[in-house]
Structure formats: structure tokens, C-alpha cells
């Protein structure tokens, strides 16, 4: 059953293999355990996206959610396979805006590259890249307004770049040196930037999703005009917090955008094992809210859908669930080794392609860009980021510091230092 079920209208391509195929002593048991479509040694077989730009209407932002049912199982696209923008979802951004987007995405990728190298050299304790998913963050980051309050997961560093968090500050957070605005408390990439309305990132997955709904309830409570947006991975939709978020949002209808970044993998766990459902966006309908699936590697589509949902929320239309279809091009993190669980060329064959290449190609199509300009942008970014990292290490390194002094361990547990922590602080000192 699950097989046939899975094959139907599945833009993620691939086929679910019966586990029996690779099982040791399967036969005795009727416990159905799904598997990933491709494992190391397999040759990835992705169907190209059947959905084309223009297939899906762009309803009025206040349309009844039932009018968006096709959007939950379909796929909103703007860029076609030749890099041209088409269809009602084209956000019609200016070339200048597109170049800004490209820059944010390139900077994000170069930052990831650099920090990965630094981690390999032992300068960082850990790192987690967003390679291949840059459009997810850049698209939303540019479509939303500065006052909008964001609850990201650990894989949307692009949001921080889009909002202008200084690269130096981001690097200092990763190093955990004196200039880390979260005081060396968190692992790398767990940024917090109150100035930019970016809420502190947590490691426990999914916790931010219902928090964002609550934050949006506060927005409505005070009758303010900003919206709230949040992001989780498709694997994390299995958490209770995902259900809490959708259900509370369905009751109080606050202005919140809930993004599911479906990059096919949760560490080694393929989305087939995260749920038997076909579409993550389709969860929305039974909660009485619109769900939209979008090509997450298509910057224009991501921007357009975010804008539509933000308009809806600002106008009192309530929450929207957005599934961004993409692929985790790199390892889960520097602690991971994907070659153990998926073919190395699966990413290259992903039908969504590379978001940066696709946006660059589009700009070229528009006569607003060239391969040379692209190379220059990338080299400039690379150099600038290398420079900045040197500065960051000057402020302090993980191994040699200087860090905040040891006694700062006891700060920020409570607003004021209570007596028992004062005593422990003395104990640490003496």
C-alpha cells in the first residue's frame, strides 16, 4: 500500500523500495519499514518536476484556504528549466533586487565554505552548512519586513545575512570568543540577534515552531502589524511541537508563517521514514489553513509565496503552512558522514538544481548578469570572508581565547545573580 500511495504525484521523485529488498530476516514479519529511494551503490533515479510555472493560480491573499488545496500537493514554481520567470507567482523583482538576492546567497555559501574549512582545521568545535538551501532563507529574508519576528532553525543562516547581521559577529559566535553576543554559551551557528528581530536558535528541534505561533498571538493581542515567521526541517514535523503549532494557529488564527524546509533528509533518515504522508504542506488543510508547496531552490518562487502568506497574515487572514522542497546538498553537520547512507551524486541529480546557479542563470537571461560577474562576486565574497575571519580570530579563538572570564558562567541564569550562584561563583574562583 505505502508504495502505490507514495508513487502518486510525487515531485520528490524516486520510488520507495520495499524494505524486503535489503532485509536480513524480513519474511517472518509483517512490520512495514520503509526505506530511502536510493542508498549508497544505487543509481539515483529522480523524475524531473512535472509541475511547471503557471500550473498553479495565485489566489487573492485572503482567499478561503480550501482554494489552495491544489497548492499543497502541487508545486509553486516561477523559474522554468531555462531560467525564465513565468506564471502568476512571478514576484516581478527588479534586477537590483535580484542581484542583492544573489549576493546574499553567495555570501551564505562562501561563509559556510570558510567555516567548514576552519572547523576541519580545528578552529571551530562544530559547523552546520546550508549549502543548496540558500534560496529558502534569502527568499523569505527579502520578502519579509524588518519588524517581522523570526524564529529560525539552525539551517537558515541566510536570514541573518539578509537582515544584515555583521559577518564578523556571526563568526565570533561560531568561535565563541569575547565578541560573541551570546557570550560563548552556544554551539556554532546557534545565532541570536535581537537587534535584527531574530530569536535565539535552539538545538532541540521544533521547539521554535509553537513559540512562533505564541509570538504571533502576542502580535494580534496588541493589534500590531508585523508578522512572525518560523522554520523547521521536514524530519522535525514528527515532533509534537509541530502539531501544537498548527493546532494553536488553527484556533487563534494569528499572523504566522510556518515554513517546513523539506530537504529530503534528517541526518540519515529519509523523509519516507519521517512520515507516510506524501506532502507536508497538505497537513494544513485539516487544520483549516492554507498549505503551499514551493520549489525551495527557486528564489523567485520562495519570495513570492512568502510575500503572499505575509500579505495574508497582515490582512488578518491568519497562518499559512509553507513546504519548501529542496535538498540538503552537504552533510547534516561536521559530525556527519552522508556517504554511509546516501549516494554521493544524489544531490547533483536533484531535480531542483542549485538555487544560486538558477538565479544567476535567470539574471543572465535578463541580460543583467554574466558568468564573469558571477565569478567575480564569488571571489570577492571569498576574499572578504577570509579577511573577516582573520579579524574574528584576532578577537579571540576557541582554544586560546580570550573568552569571557570563567565567572560569567553564572550570568544570565537569572536576571540577577542569586545567593546560591554567588556561592558557587566564589567556589569556582577560589
Amino acid at each position: 500500500m505505502a508504495d502505490s500511495k507514495y508513487r502518486v504525484e510525487n515531485p520528490e521523485g524516486g520510488e520507495q523500495k520495499r524494505v524486503a529488498g535489503r532485509a536480513g530476516r524480513e519474511s517472518a514479519s509483517f512490520l512495514h519499514v520503509p526505506d530511502a529511494p536510493h542508498r549508497p551503490g544505487d543509481e539515483p533515479r529522480f523524475a524531473r518536476f512535472t509541475q511547471q510555472p503557471g500550473d498553479l493560480s495565485r489566489p487573492d491573499p485572503l482567499a478561503h484556504y480550501e482554494q489552495l488545496r491544489p497548492h499543497a500537493t502541487g508545486l509553486v514554481r516561477v523559474l522554468n528549466d531555462d531560467g525564465q520567470a513565468a506564471g502568476p507567482w512571478d514576484p516581478k523583482l527588479s534586477p537590483a533586487e535580484l542581484r542583492t538576492a544573489l549576493m546574499i546567497m553567495v555570501h551564505t555559501r562562501q561563509l559556510d565554505r570558510r567555516m567548514l574549512t576552519m572547523q576541519r582545521q580545528g578552529r571551530l568545535s562544530f559547523y552546520l552548512e546550508s549549502t543548496g538551501e540558500e534560496a529558502v532563507a534569502a527568499g523569505a529574508g527579502m520578502a519579509l519586513l524588518p519588524d517581522d519576528l523570526l524564529f529560525p532553525s539552525y539551517r537558515q543562516q541566510g536570514l541573518f545575512l539578509a537582515r544584515g547581521m555583521p559577518l564578523l559577529d556571526m563568526m565570533c559566535q561560531c568561535i565563541g570568543n569575547r565578541s560573541d553576543n551570546s557570550k560563548g554559551r552556544q554551539m556554532p551557528v546557534h545565532y541570536s540577534w535581537r537587534k535584527g528581530n531574530l530569536v535565539s536558535i535552539s538545538s532541540p528541534v521544533g521547539t521554535q515552531f509553537p513559540q512562533a505561533v505564541g509570538a504571533a498571538m502576542a502580535t494580534a493581542y496588541r493589534g500590531e502589524s508585523h508578522v512572525v515567521a518560523t522554520w523547521i526541517g521536514e524530519g522535525t514535523t514528527a515532533q509534537g511541537d509541530f502539531h501544537y503549532a498548527l493546532n494553536f494557529a488553527s484556533v487563534y488564527m494569528p499572523p504566522v508563517l510556518m515554513h517546513i524546509v523539506n530537504n529530503q533528509w534528517a541526518i540519515s533518515t529519509h523523509r519516507n521514514l519521517s512520515t507516510g504522508g506524501k506532502s507536508f504542506a497538505a497537513r494544513a488543510d485539516a487544520y483549516g489553513m492554507p498549505g503551499i508547496r514551493v520549489d525551495g531552490n527557486d528564489f523567485l518562487a520562495v519570495h513570492a509565496v512568502t510575500q503572499w502568506a505575509a500579505d495574508r497574515a497582515r490582512q488578518g487572514g491568519g497562518p499559512t503552512l509553507i513546504e519548501l522542497l529542496t535538498y540538503r546538498a552537504g552533510a547534516h553537520s561536521t559530525s556527519d558522514d552522508p556517504s554511509r547512507y546516501r549516494p554521493s551524486d544524489e544531490g547533483r541529480l536533484w531535480p531542483g538544481g542549485d538555487p544560486i546557479a538558477r538565479l544567476a542563470q535567470h539574471l543572465v537571461e535578463l541580460g543583467e548578469w554574466s558568468d564573469e560577474k558571477q565569478q567575480e562576486l564569488e571571489h570577492k565574497a571569498e576574499r572578504m570572508i577570509a579577511q573577516t575571519y582573520k579579524q574574528a580570530e584576532k578577537v579571540g579563538s576557541l582554544a586560546d581565547g580570550p573568552h569571557d572570564p570563567p565567572e560569567t558562567i553564572f550570568d544570565d541564569v537569572y536576571q540577577n545573580l542569586p545567593e546560591h550562584l554567588q556561592r558557587q561563583r566564589d567556589e569556582l574562583g577560589g
Partner: protein
């Protein structure tokens, strides 16, 4: 001043804070239209509006998570968990998020929640309407843990908790809502005439992290909190042992000074709480005191607590620390 039972005192604290601070909102299961299964929020929705006091879906995890988001976005939420026994679906949001948000963000973000939850036994509630889970929270740095034992403390401490920018777990011993239960299952005492039921009508604060000396003596120190404060008191009153009785009121951060001073004076100590013994907060009190007052101790510190079992239905009165068990401990500690 007015005479209030503990439910009226809680209701009054919420009413006062809703009135004073437009960012205070109160919500939870059956909290809005109905006014709460224990009536703690009765009349508040009608008075303050449906967006200030409202019902939620049946999901403690969602209630606390959304409350954290509201707190992050500028509100001062006072969610209710209908029974402390049902707080565990929210345990991740409380332990990993609420308690650690300020720390992990270097002080950039915090959520000033006060999570209210009726706790404790004595109402024939068995395993799941009787628990005293305070020790799961006293072990979690970043949380303030409060448990009042009378109406005036309940109101003053609840107001201080709501005004605190630190997250507070506020446990209300449900057996005390309508009267100071003194350990006799057959009596139904009323707050009428009890000094703790004289409660200022308006706004006032009772300081957090300050214990109170309920009665004074010199032979032994009894440390307790919640319902047991009254049971202990009735035992002391009917015994000829001269005892200090200390009601901790706030468990974390704890008022060690007051307790240690008393134990230095008496040289003997008993800790009494309803929660199971192993890993109960009583263990922490003992560990601190044997370190602070070692040279003054004339006898081992005794613990009278709930047993290390779930909370039973038919044998409830054999489970809860009884007058007899407390009296025996008094004798034991005095004779040691």
C-alpha cells in the same frame, strides 16, 4: 483587608495584575469561559476580556510553548496547567527552552512566564491528581520554584512571580484551596479565622526566596512547604517539643540563611514534604544543611516524605506523611 481562601487569593492576584499590566494574560484548559476547574480564574474573562483570559486546546506542551513565544514578544503570560500531574508534556519546553533562553542568548531574550499548577494529594486523586513534582523543576537552573501554603502568601507570591522577569513555576497545594488541612482526613477545615486568610484587597508583594518562621521554638527545626506545613504545625502544637517550623515558600532560589540559622540554634532538623523521598527537594535541603551546620548537628537530619511509589487511591492516607509519622520522627530526632 478581606478574608479569602486560597482560590480567592489566587483569583485576586490575577485580577490585580490583569488590571495593572496590559501585557498580563491568563490562559489554559477550561480557564476562560468556565473559570477553571478549581475556579481560580472565575469571572476574569468577563471582566478583562476574551483576549486577556482565554481557553486553550488540551495540550500543556502547546500552552507553555505558545506562552514562551508570547513572553518573547513582550507579553507577561500566566498559563495554568490544570493539574501538576499533567505538566510533563510541557517538560521539554520548560526545561530546555523556558529555563535556558536567557542564558543561551547571552541575555538577549527571555520569557517572563508564571506557570501555575495545582499540586499535592489529599483529595482522593490517586496517581494522576495528587503529584508533587516540584523536584523535577528545582533541579532545573533558570527556574524559580514557589509553593505557598496560605492565602496571603499565595496572593503576594503570585504577584511577585508575575512581576519577575525570570520564569516561575508556581505550585498551588490544591488540598489547601478551601482550608488549612491539618492531617485529619475527616475534618474539612475552613480558612475562616486563620491569620493567613487576611489578605489585602489590592496590589502587594511577598518577596520571593524568603522563607518564613511559622512558629518558634528551640529544640528542633522542622522545614516544610505546601500542605505539610499545616500538618506539621498541628503535630507540634499537640506535642511538648519546642520546635521552629519553617515554611520555605520559595524552594529555588532557597533561603538557606533562615534555615541554617535555625538549625545552628536547635542542632536538630526534620524535613517534611509530600513528594516521594528519593531525589525529593528534601534531599537537597539535607545536603545543604549537613554542609552548612555540620558542627551544630546533634542528630541525623530526618526526612518524612511521600513513599517512593506512585500515589495510591484507596490507601491515600497511608501514603501521605501522617501526623503519626511526623510525631514519630520528632521523638526519634529528639531522642537521638
Amino acid at each position: 483587608m478581606a478574608t479569602m481562601n486560597m482560590i480567592q487569593a489566587v483569583n485576586s492576584a490575577l485580577d490585580v495584575m490583569l488590571e495593572r499590566d496590559g501585557n498580563v494574560c491568563v490562559f489554559g484548559e477550561d480557564v476562560g469561559y468556565f473559570g477553571g476547574v478549581f475556579r481560580a480564574t472565575e469571572g476574569l474573562q468577563k471582566k478583562h476580556g476574551t483576549h486577556r483570559v482565554f481557553d486553550t486546546p488540551l495540550a500543556e506542551g502547546g500552552i507553555v510553548a505558545t506562552a514562551i513565544g508570547m513572553g518573547i514578544n513582550g507579553l507577561r503570560p500566566v498559563p495554568e496547567v490544570q493539574f501538576a500531574d499533567y505538566i510533563y508534556p510541557a517538560f521539554d519546553q520548560i526545561t530546555n527552552e523556558l529555563a535556558k533562553l536567557r542564558y543561551r542568548s547571552g541575555g538577549e531574550w527571555f520569557a517572563p512566564l508564571t506557570v501555575r499548577a495545582p499540586c499535592g494529594g489529599g483529595i482522593r486523586g490517586a496517581l494522576y491528581h495528587s503529584q508533587s513534582p516540584e523536584a523535577y523543576f528545582t533541579h532545573t537552573a533558570g527556574l524559580t520554584v514557589v509553593m505557598p501554603s496560605n492565602p496571603v502568601d499565595a496572593k503576594g507570591l503570585l504577584i511577585s512571580s508575575i512581576e519577575s522577569d525570570d520564569p516561575v513555576m508556581f505550585f498551588e497545594p490544591k488540598r489547601l484551596y478551601r482550608g488549612p488541612f491539618d492531617g485529619d482526613p475527616h475534618k474539612v477545615p475552613s480558612w475562616q479565622g486563620h491569620p493567613g486568610s487576611d489578605v489585602p484587597v489590592g496590589h502587594f508583594r511577598t518577596p520571593l526566596s524568603k522563607a518564613v518562621l511559622v512558629r518558634e521554638g528551640d529544640a528542633v527545626t522542622v522545614v516544610s512547604w505546601g500542605t505539610m506545613v499545616h500538618v506539621v504545625r498541628s503535630v507540634i502544637d499537640s506535642s511538648d517539643v519546642s520546635a521552629d517550623l519553617i515554611d520555605l515558600r520559595t524552594l529555588v532560589p532557597m533561603d538557606l540563611e533562615t534555615v541554617a540559622a535555625s538549625v545552628r540554634k536547635t542542632g536538630r532538623c526534620i524535613v517534611v514534604h509530600e513528594a516521594p523521598r528519593t531525589g525529593g527537594f528534601g534531599a537537597e535541603v539535607v545536603a545543604l544543611l549537613q554542609e552548612e551546620c555540620f558542627w551544630h548537628l546533634e542528630a541525623p537530619i530526618a526526612r518524612v516524605t511521600g513513599w517512593d511509589t506512585p500515589f495510591p487511591h484507596a490507601l491515600e492516607w497511608d501514603y501521605m506523611p501522617s501526623r503519626k509519622r511526623i510525631a514519630d520522627a520528632l521523638t526519634r530526632v529528639m531522642e537521638a
